[in-house]
Amino acid sequence: MSNNLKVLRDGIIFDNPILVQVVGMCATLATSTSIINGVGMGLSTAVVLIGSNVVISLLRKFIPDTVRIPCFVVVIASFVTIVQLLLQAYMPALNDALGLYIPLIVVNCIILARAEGFASKNNAVASFFDGLGNGLGFTCLLAVMGAVRELLGSGTFLNIKVLPDAFPKTLMIIMSPGAFFTLGIIMALFKYTVLSKKKPEESEE
């Protein structure tokens, strides 16, 4: 398995930003109330993450170690703001769908965590795959959480009614406590099933 594919896979599964690194909790808990919200947030984050990873990686030799965090923050915030302005101006339809999430991305520490943990130490191509992998890992988790919370909380799946009215809707699942419960259970199941097997190829290498 080539190195870039391995970076991609680790981002999605073995280093999943939510389940393993446990970063970006705020956005996860807030936007996973339905599948559409979750996937929208996940994909917007993936795009920004890829962009910021590549930019940080290209600048990594120029950025002095002692002031790297302020540099990352300035670069990431500028990048997100420019994306937001361009979306508002030239892609109003996309902005309508994703505009809600963009301000949330700025404060999402997945971006900073990947800049610090990966992009500042690796080349642009690897950083691109790291951004893609982490972005997709984040999106998958938000989609699963969104599906569970939407089904139990609103009785719908992708806004289509699936559970009969007689089935009790658990409002709490849509609200913040439900987010914590859902995430906790998913995280426990994930650790039990996937992580307990450990990375299989790592041991062979």
């Binding site: 807030a30 936007t31 109330t33 339905s34 919200n37 600048l59 120029f62 950025i63 002095p64 170690d65 002692t66 002031v67 302020p70 540099c71 300035v74 670069v75 500028s78 703001t81 420019i82 302005l85 361009l86 508002q88 101006a89 030239y90 109003p92 919370r149 939407e150 909380g153 609103s154 409002l171 849509i174 609200m175």
Partner: protein
């Protein structure tokens, strides 16, 4: 000394470059964004009170939650008003637009912006909620408060807020609609 100056200088360079890029993007996108916002406003107006031309009433006497009044005319005749309201809802301010015809009947309601809980209060942006206001003029209160508005389950505060905005808009037309040309 160099240990301090080099990082400081490089941080400065990064900040200057970023600020410059931000300035350029803001300048380039200023006009298209302004045009988009006007279009959004126009679209919302023609959704709540269709097929009219709108003109802002600049000297409107604002009351309650009413923040802006547009007079609508259709084929030269008065058609009613499109009224912007800002009410405080569960998650903070909620802005909405209400179309009211000249008989003080609601022709449409749209939520422009809100910060309520997705899946609960945010359901106010569904047609199934805001379409019930169409045709109403009296009884603008949620059922729990003795009115005719069916509240969103578990989002009474949001429902009350939207209803208050609608009620203020109707009241404004009842108070000022006849007096203003």
């Amino acid at each position: 000394m160099k240990q301090i100056t080099t990082p400081a200088l490089r941080l400065l360079i990064i900040c200057v470059v970023c600020a410059f890029l931000l300035g350029i993007s803001s300048e380039i996108t200023k006009e298209p964004i302004a045009a988009q916002n006007i279009k959004i406003q126009q679209d919302a107006m023609s959704a709540v009170l269709p097929d009219c031309t709108y003109e802002e009433v600049s000297d409107a006497k604002l009351s309650g939650s009413v923040t802006k009044v547009n007079k609508a005319t259709k084929d030269g005749a008065d058609a009613g008003y499109v009224i912007n309201c800002q009410v405080s809802s569960f998650g903070g301010p909620l802005t909405m637009m209400v179309g009211v015809d000249k008989d003080a009947k609601i022709t449409g309601v749209r939520i422009l912006s809100h910060s309520d809980t997705p899946g609960l209060g945010a359901k106010a942006t569904d047609p199934s909620f805001y379409d019930q206001y169409v045709g109403m003029s009296d009884g603008l209160a949620v059922e729990k408060d003795g009115g005719k508005v069916k509240a969103i389950t578990a989002a009474t505060i949001t429902s009350r807020a939207v209803t208050l905005g609608a009620s203020d808009a109707v009241q404004w037309v009842k108070d000022n609609g006849g007096a203003q040309k």
